[in-house]
């Protein structure tokens, strides 16, 4: 197979664009896609201080690499989640990448800063790990960016991530989530930092290829909690459709952003924002969801400890 732009041999074929590309032309294509998304959606300005959320996986490291290459002023934010070997490997990959490319990185250790890692949090709440993890990541990202004076937070969500989220939201007709799903979320108050997803027009496969071609050393290992996740089911379903009808996946997502979502915004309930009574971050309720979750988790742990002490005391008491 030959490159669509030159006589060289192709290294990857993008059926959705009817285009096989050689290495240099694929890289050019990929970077153009990101640049166009950033420009069209007004994601970033040249003088913005950008916080890039980096997990150590292919998407976030590729995003960081590309933004840096485009000349943006970036700092990485890595959250150590305490999920066994996976988190250690992710931390190492992030720091090694930062060092190799001479980039600044800030790290937050969930357990050191908030008292529990993701597995403990999940056990205390008796909820799947992803719910506490996702909420914590979103909260910490915004808080760190706000407190450190960043203009925008960039995340590595790609076309497949967004299309899978859209599919989940449509299957359950989550109107509130649908209205809020977007490549750019503007800062609605001073405490909510702008969020952008510069990779939303490139697929996961394209991102992986870009990372491989640049020798980006990402964590191939998956979070153990990801197995069985609904997002994987949706991605698989979408890729089966894509195989039979190339371009279907990006049509599904991009047409939603262009045509469907703008109609949803009207009427989507706009709650008034106020400061969380505990942490001061912006929220629609008296205490924000993050603080409520941590309060509950800590209460559960305390109760468990009290019960344990009671049992111990009973066991130690002399029997008559």
């Amino acid at each position: 197979m030959r490159c669509v732009k030159c006589p060289d041999k192709a290294v990857i074929e993008l059926r959705r664009h009817h285009s096989p590309f050689c290495k240099p032309h694929f890289i050019e294509y990929f970077e153009n896609q990101v640049e166009r998304a950033v420009r069209r959606q007004g994601m970033l300005s040249p003088d913005d201080r950008i916080m890039v959320a980096v997990s150590g996986g292919k998407d976030s490291l590729t995003l960081w690499y590309v933004l840096n290459r485009m000349g943006y002023n970036t700092t990485g934010l890595h959250i150590h989640l305490g999920i066994g070997e996976y988190s250690d490997a992710s931390y190492d990959a992030t720091l090694a990448f930062a060092k190799q490319h001479d980039l600044e990185v800030t790290t937050v250790d969930l357990s050191k800063t908030y008292g529990m890692n993701v597995p403990d949090l999940s056990k205390a709440l008796r909820r799947v790990a992803c719910s506490g993890c996702g909420l914590s990541k979103r909260y910490i990202m915004n808080k760190e960016a706000h407190e450190r004076g960043f203009d925008v937070v960039a995340t590595g969500h790609n076309l497949d991530d967004e299309a899978a989220t859209l599919m989940g939201n449509v299957l359950h007709w989550q109107m509130g989530y649908l209205a809020r799903q977007a490549p750019v979320l503007e800062a609605t108050t001073e405490k909510l930092v702008k969020k952008v997803k510069p990779l939303y027009t490139v697929t996961e496969r394209e991102t992986a290829a870009y990372a491989l071609l640049h020798g980006i050393d990402y964590v191939e290992e998956e979070c153990p909690n990801a197995f069985g996740a609904k997002s994987l089911l949706y991605k698989d379903a979408l890729n089966r459709i894509e195989l039979e009808s190339p371009g279907a996946k990006h049509q599904f997502l991009l047409q939603f952003f262009e045509n469907a979502r703008p109609r949803l915004e009207v009427g989507a309930d706009e709650h008034e924002l106020r400061d969380c009574a505990i942490c001061g971050q912006a929220t629609t309720t008296e205490v924000c969801a993050f603080c409520r979750m941590w309060q509950q988790a800590k209460r559960r742990v305390e109760q468990k400890e009290e019960r344990r002490q009671l049992r111990e005391a009973e066991a130690a008491a002399p029997t008559t």
């Binding site: 197979m1 990857i12 992986a208 491989l212 998956e222 994987l232 698989d236 089966r240």
Partner: protein
Amino acid sequence: MKVIIRNPKRREVELEGKGWRVQDVLKHLDLNPESVLVMRAGELLTRDEHVKTEDTIEVLSAISGG
């Protein structure tokens, strides 16, 4: 020909016979070409490439969850 499927769970498969193309290998292993990348000696291969009996190819799933 040896096929190493790198992730999410690493496994190796030995395929007999000649005349395999990348797309036939994927079809045989029931892997979706939209979800994976195929490599030989660190180079990406398109679906029409022929794989020789003595070759080792690697399949990398591009899909991550979470």
